[in-house]
Subunit: 150 residues, 2 copies
C-alpha cells in the first residue's frame, strides 16, 4: 500500500460547464488494487460530508435536482450506475463503473442518477452538510436560475 | 434523498485505545438506501485523502502497520472484510460488512485487514496525504513506541 503522492490524476473536461471526469491513480500488486485521491491537490473542495447510495432498484431514478452552492464528487465504488449531468445548455450521460472514475459536479448542475446495477454503491463526497434550502428540485426553476446567472 | 442533520450517529468504544465503531444513519425509501456522515460533527479529523482497496484475493493480508500521526476511518462499502485493531495492550477483530459501519483508527493503532470477500471494497478516509515516514511497519518497533508513550 505505497501510493506515491506523485501518481497523477487525470482530469478531463466534459462539455458540461464545470463538470469534470477524474481518472484516479490505480496501484495494483498481488494483494489487490488501490485507488486514491488527495483532497487538497486533486479535488476542488473540502469534504464536509460523505454519503453512500445503494440497494437502488434498477428501475429507479435518483437525483433529479441541482444544488445552489454544493459541490459533489461521485464515485461508483461497486457495480455501476449512470449519471446525467446538465448545465441547462448541455447535458451528458456518464457511466460510472469503476472505483477509479470520479465525476465532479459543481453547483448549478442538474443531476439524474439511474441504471443502478444490483450491486452498485455510489459514494458521494460533498462540500457541505445537508441543507434542504440548497436543493433546486424543479427543472423550470433551475433553468430560470441558469438564465439569470448567464 | 433527504437525510436530516439530526439523524444520529452511534459511536461505540471498543476496548482498543481510541478505536471506535460508528453506526451511521441509514435512510431507506422505495428508491434504495442512503447512509451518511458529516465530517465536522461526526468524525474526529478533517479528510485530506481517501482511498479504496478492492479485488483483494481472500488469502491476502493487508495493513500490518501502524501510523504515527495519521487518523483513518474505514468503511467496507461493498462485501465484507475483517480488520484487527491493536493498541499494543488490547486487540480486537471487527467484521466490516455494511456501508453503515465505520471503524475509526487513531494514530498508533496496529492494523491488519484480511478475509476480504471477492466483492469487497474498503473505503478509507484519512487525515493526511500519503507519507511513507508516517508508517511503522515493524511490530517490535511499534511496541517499543507504545511503551515509550505510556
Amino acid at each position: 500500500m505505497n501510493p506515491t503522492a506523485s501518481a497523477s490524476v487525470s482530469i478531463e473536461p466534459t462539455g458540461v460547464r464545470g463538470v469534470s471526469l477524474y481518472r484516479l491513480p490505480q496501484v495494483q500488486d498481488e494483494r489487490g488494487m488501490l485507488t486514491f485521491a488527495e483532497v487538497r491537490s486533486h479535488m476542488p473542495f473540502a469534504v464536509e460530508r460523505f454519503f453512500m447510495v445503494y440497494r437502488v432498484p434498477s428501475r429507479e431514478v435518483r437525483g433529479e435536482h441541482a444544488h445552489k452552492v454544493l459541490h459533489q464528487f461521485l464515485v461508483c465504488v461497486s457495480g455501476s450506475c449512470s449519471v446525467i449531468a446538465d448545465d441547462g445548455a448541455a447535458g451528458r450521460e456518464f457511466l460510472l463503473n469503476s472505483p477509479a472514475l470520479g465525476l465532479y459536479l459543481p453547483p448549478m448542475t442538474w443531476c439524474v442518477h439511474h441504471k443502478y446495477s444490483p450491486d452498485a454503491v455510489l459514494l458521494v463526497l460533498a462540500s457541505d452538510v445537508y441543507e434542504s434550502a440548497d436543493y433546486i428540485r424543479d427543472y423550470a426553476v433551475f433553468m430560470d436560475l441558469v438564465r439569470t446567472r448567464v
